[in-house]
């Protein structure tokens, strides 16, 4: 699968990860050469790229968005907030981490992660799918 259409969801991020995600589309990194595109509608998405610490309001919407996406749909947690809540760990407003709500496939740490890190995360994702496909074929 070399055609991953990414839907970018912000679950209450500080916008820093989001800027780095946009950097991936710029001439310097250009993820379109791997067939990766940002799409505007969840219905077109193959992967949800989630940034931010998942506050209480975002958690409800995140589940809804995941249900709206056509399966198979991958989930990528981007940035340390989405991974482990970072400085919001003891906040009154942030209850659970992302992976308690959605099945996360790849974790990309960093505050914010560099575009290189995001690309390497996506490469890992592609390899993961490939190995899964390979196993399915063997069975």
């Amino acid at each position: 699968m070399k055609s991953i259409w990414v839907f970018h969801v912000s679950a209450g991020s500080c916008n820093n990860c989001d800027i780095e995600i946009l950097d991936c589309l710029t001439p310097r990194f250009d993820v379109e050469r791997f067939g990766i595109q940002l799409v505007g509608s969840v219905r077109h998405a193959d992967a949800l790229l989630i940034t931010g610490a998942m506050n209480r309001k975002a958690a409800v919407r995140m589940k809804k968005i995941y249900e709206q996406a056509p399966k198979p749909c991958l989930v990528v947690a981007c940035g340390i907030c989405a991974l482990s809540q970072h400085m919001f760990r003891d906040s009154y407003n942030v209850r659970e981490t992302l992976d308690k709500i959605l099945p996360v496939d790849v974790y990309i740490p960093g505050c914010p992660p560099k575009p290189e890190a995001i690309i390497s995360g996506i490469v890992k994702l592609v390899n993961k799918i490939r190995s899964q496909d390979g196993n399915a074929a063997k069975r």
Partner: protein, 319 residues
Amino acid sequence: MVAGGYPAAEEESGPMLKVFFQYLIFPGLLFSACAGLIAGWADRKLTARLQWRRGPVWYQNFTDIIKLLGKETVLPEGAGSVFLLAPFAGLISAGVIATILGNSIINSQQSFLGDIIVVLYLMVIPALSSIIGASASRNPLASVGASREMKLVLAYELPFILSVIAVIIKCAGTIQFSSITNHQIIFGSHIASLSGALAFCVCLLCVQAKLAMAPFDIAEADQELMSGVLIEYSGLPLAVFKLNKALLLYVLPLFLIIIFWAGNLRIPILAAKYLAILMLVILIKNTNPRLRIDQALKFFWGPVTLLAIAAVMLALAGL
């Protein structure tokens, strides 16, 4: 389907089979879809190069389609079979256009009287199918997209048909592709004359709008409407819409070549002409920001229609 094989039915040897072959494989659906997907890659690649990026590999659009076929198709609540069938209407009619145009190039015997009018009608159907599909999806953003698409169709059809009329006048009133090409082979391409060049410019702008490319990508509007008319589509129907677009990207420049630039239709020259028009369309796309719908209406009904009328007048005067 019947249209493409009209004269073939009069021949003796396996007429039905020939019709199906022509419609489904060459020069119909399969061939034109492949050509269109590669043209779509050219679009993405050139866009990337213009932005100093690398751009995708040549088979990217094929991978996209195959991937979409493997995805789940989500049916929004309350959307019925119309929602699922709408994209196929567009695909079928685009296939018919490809067959008629291809046949008129390969073998002018297969052209039939009035085929240009059939093609003009069929060219509206892909736009109609996206309007119907979007309206059936019950999504507010899709309905905004559908209403914009409707207005856009109203806007560009008038100058488009006027410019085709200019061509028909120049060919002494013939409404058949083969006689239009024959006329140009004998008297030179229409684009070389004043009225022909004007009509070509008008037609090119209308084709840009028919392809839903910037500055006329108002109905899809990636950033403001989240791909508008396509917002609720996923899986197979989305793949069909993408194929639809690919077919149009192959068919519309071909249409332009046949009616304006058919002085020499040998295959390498035809391909070169097709690439030239494709490049032109992509360059216009990459150098213009999206118009608002009211600006597009004013643009098409104002200056563009005036240009088209001027072309008709000049054609009547024999220039």
